[in-house]
């Protein structure tokens, strides 16, 4: 299975966690790492090129830091332009049908803050509703998100743990070894290994 990571970080030069997460991902067999802000500094997204990339892959990942409970703006722009009617959705739009989709998110706050009644009052999964529905309209299979919480204060070795988990997950997907039915029931994709052992 070929994986396409659409990475969006408007201030990557100031990033700490994402720098580690992203480092060398393009070296992984079967993974294409596509840095949107680097590729389109003026937001002039090449629709045909993006659609070609999507066609060549079987699993699409949005990787981004959470901004205002949503994606950085270029990822919204990307959706607006690339997911064309008659290509991605609609009666004739079947190009994305059956492909996997999930988000890899870094969030400053801890998981406890993203609960009903807590500081942010909504869970990550609730916040992802529009994206999940977008994927559904495009007939894709949505998986739970891979989330790195607490990036505002995180030790280096902890970041490396996340990095290892993430790379492990990507390799599992590339090798077609991910039990899709099983992981779809998970809260976060982070737990795919633990659940496997259970």
């Amino acid at each position: 299975m070929k994986v396409l990571i659409l990475f969006a970080h408007p201030a990557f030069h100031k990033s700490k966690v994402n720098k580690v997460l992203v480092d060398d991902l393009s070296e992984l067999q079967g993974v294409t790492f596509h840095d949107l802000y680097e590729h389109y500094p003026e937001f002039d997204i090449d629709v045909k090129e993006e659609q070609k990339l999507l066609s060549e892959h079987d699993c699409v990942i949005f990787q981004y830091p959470l901004f205002w409970y949503s994606t950085p703006s270029i990822l919204k722009e990307w959706q607006d332009l690339v997911l064309e009617h008659g290509w991605a959705f609609g009666s004739q739009g079947n190009e994305l049908k059956g492909k996997l989709f999930f988000c890899t998110i870094t969030a400053g706050g801890p998981k406890q803050a993203y609960q009903i009644g807590a500081f942010h009052n909504l869970t990550i999964n609730q916040l992802l509703t529009p994206l999940k529905q977008t994927a559904a309209l495009c007939k894709m299979i949505t998986l739970p998100p891979f989330v790195v919480h607490g990036t505002h204060a995180m030790e280096d070795d902890k970041i490396l743990d996340f990095k290892n988990d993430y790379v492990g997950l990507l390799k599992t997907i590339v090798d077609d070894k991910l039990d899709i039915e099983k992981v779809r029931k998970l809260d976060y994709l982070n737990h795919y290994l633990i659940k496997e052992e259970l």
Partner: protein, 635 residues
């Protein structure tokens, strides 16, 4: 055999150099050794192409040392020279004194020469060879290491020390030579009382510094305005020769004078230009000097006194090596730098020739003492490149600590990652933007007016023609990553690109192009980017025009980018097909046709709104009937 004609001599010297130096370089011996070997070969003792006139050539070629010191000065900012004051005075002073005393002592112990002769020998042999050491160090790129800088400091001190030694030598006379023979520097100034003499000397030094700062730069500016390259070269030579005469007149070292002038001019905008102009002369003269040293080695004498000369050479090298090593250690040099320093300076120098013949004239030494010494000094000089090679290949790897990260950052050179050729309105915009983002570039410009203006505004712009590879080299092209060609003249831009591609293939190049023709030529050169100077501005203006008549800014902006991309792709296609065309007229006609086609294409389809995104025409088509149906059912 010696036809004597100037051309014959020039032919012999030049062919010796052209043959021997590349061979020596190929063998990893360095150019200095190549020249020396060439000298030995053409000298009276091997092929005999040149005879005793080699001595005169040597005196003439010593001028190369003077030029070298000028160039070294140009590379040294005054602030850096001030930093070197302690190695120059401390290290240099201690080296000369200690080496003199030890050599003096050895001569006293091992020979029966009178103490006056021994002292003269000590003072003479304490000096090392500026020419050989600096040339070898700079060829190996070691001049800016700690060891290289210290070696330079010692040599500088020695150059100055020669003058008092020359004055002192006649006092050591042991045989009556009738009247004491004066050194050629004994001129009108010697008739002045000592106080006045000091004043004159000080005055000359001050005037060199002051005129270097306030007179020479404006003079060069005037000359640069004539745009006659050879005039600039002539002026640079005039400057060096003028200082040489002046310094000789007052009995000071010409090398010191030109060095000072060099330091003063190190901050001038004409620094790179001066460097490039003097460099070839220096190179040729130094080469000539080394050849002359090689040719002057008296093999007959050596064969007759093999044992004695071997002992002198060995003793000289070993004593100096040890003295230098101990002093270097005392001054806290690290192992590898200290080894370089000691091995580099362990020889007699060109001043030893001067001092020995002067001592001979003044009856301080006898001919039987002086001649083997002169031969030994020449041999020790010839051995220097070999000794340094020995140190580099055999000793350093075992004892040296090669800690690159410890090396002090180069303060002398302006070495930047980016070089901008052409610093007018166009190039300066690029430079300012880079600077605003914390990247300092090296700026080169050919227009003296512009250079002056920008210098006044505090920008470090260098005057010079970037299409000359030596100037690009002086601007640090060897270490730079990117060359931005922003010059105004198309031909010049292409010349610069050609030079850079040929001599610095590692450099990435981006270039400004003025006309379609330039653009095509530059695309052919396979650069990292070619920018048509008006295309972006014209498009921005066009976009603004549309906005002003009521189009939405976002739409116009997106259309602009789409248009630009299409435009560039189209031009590349034209370039690719251009090679098949035979004649120029046909070619230009085709360009016009292509342009027409492009414009018509645009009208047809390219910048149509639906390609700009957020198009819902088809969504409406698919869903409107369904929605209508739903409404009808409800009502």
């Amino acid at each position: 055999m010696h036809e004597g004609g100037f051309f014959y001599q020039a032919f012999v010297y030049l062919s010796a150099a052209v043959i021997a130096v590349p061979v020596a370089k190929k063998l990893g011996l360095g150019s200095v050794l190549g020249y020396l070997i060439a000298g030995v070969l053409i000298g009276p003792f091997v092929f005999g192409f040149i005879g005793e006139e080699g001595q005169d050539v040597m005196h003439f070629a010593e001028f190369g040392v003077v030029m070298m010191l000028f160039l070294v000065g140009l590379e040294l900012q005054p602030s850096l020279l001030w930093k070197l004051r302690s190695p120059i005075l401390g290290l240099g002073g201690v080296q000369v004194i200690v080496a003199s005393i030890i050599i003096f002592g050895s001569v006293m112990v091992f020979t029966s020469l009178p103490w006056q002769t021994a002292l003269a020998i000590g003072l003479t042999l304490a000096l090392s060879s500026t020419a050989i050491v600096l040339q070898t160090l700079s060829e190996k790129g070691l001049l800016k290491t700690e060891g290289g800088q210290n070696a330079f400091s010692v040599l500088l001190f020695q150059d100055v020390a020669v003058i008092p030694i020359l004055a002192f030598l006649p006092l050591l006379a042991i045989t009556e030579v009738g009247t004491t023979v004066g050194y050629e520097s004994h001129t009108w100034i010697d008739s002045l009382p000592i106080v006045l003499r000091t004043l004159v000397v000080l005055g000359v030094i001050v005037s060199i510094i002051v005129s270097g700062k306030y007179l020479i730069s404006p003079a060069f500016r005037l000359i640069a305005h004539t745009r006659l390259r050879e005039l600039f070269t002539a002026a640079a030579l005039l400057l060096v020769i003028g200082i040489t005469i002046l310094m000789t007149e007052v009995g000071l070292s010409p090398a010191l004078g030109t060095f000072l002038a060099g330091v003063v001019l190190a901050q001038s905008e004409y620094r790179h230009e001066l460097e490039t102009d003097i460099e070839p002369f220096k190179g040729l003269l130094l080469g000539l000097f080394f050849i002359a040293v090689g040719a002057s080695i008296d093999f007959q004498l050596i064969i007759n006194n093999t044992g004695l000369i071997a002992i002198i050479v060995l003793g000289l090298v070993i004593v100096k090596l040890m003295v230098l090593y101990v002093i270097g250690n005392f001054f806290g040099m690290r192992m590898d730098n200290n080894l370089l320093f000691a091995f580099g300076l362990a020889q007699g120098g060109e001043f030893s020739f001067v001092l020995l013949s002067y001592a001979l004239q003044n009856g301080v030494v006898t001919g039987t003492t002086a001649n083997p010494l002169i031969a030994s000094v020449a041999i020790s000089m010839a051995l220097t490149p070999l000794l340094m090679l020995l140190n580099e290949k055999l000793i350093q790897p075992y004892f040296g600590t090669k800690k690159e990260e410890d090396r002090e950052a180069d303060v002398i050179d302006e070495q930047n990652e980016v070089i901008i050729a052409g610093f007018g309105r166009y190039g300066s915009t690029i430079g300012r933007f880079l600077q605003a983002n914390g990247t300092q570039a090296t700026y080169l410009d050919m227009d003296p007016n512009n250079v002056d203006l920008l210098r006044k505004l505090g920008l470090k712009v260098f005057y010079g023609d970037a299409s000359r590879h030596d100037l690009l080299n002086a601007a640090g092209a060897q270490a730079a990553k990117l060359l931005v060609v922003a010059v105004d003249y198309s031909d010049k831009a292409l010349e610069i690109i050609e030079t850079a591609k040929k001599h610095f293939p590692h450099l990435k190049i981006i270039s400004r192009s003025k006309t379609w023709d330039d653009y095509f030529h530059m695309l052919d050169k396979d650069l990292h980017g070619v920018y048509r100077e008006f295309s972006d501005v014209a498009l921005r203006m066009a976009a603004e025009a549309l906005s002003l008549i009521g189009y939405r800014s976002n739409q116009v902006h997106r259309s602009l980018k789409k248009f630009r991309k299409h435009d560039e792709e189209f031009l590349k296609q034209i370039v690719d097909s251009r090679h098949e065309r035979k004649t120029f007229i046909k070619h230009s006609r085709q360009v016009i046709e292509d342009l027409e086609k492009m414009i018509l294409d645009d009208i047809e389809s390219v910048a149509k709104d639906k390609d700009l995104g957020w198009d819902i025409t088809t969504i409406k088509e698919e869903f409107a009937p369904i929605i209508k149906k739903l409404k009808e059912e409800n009502s």
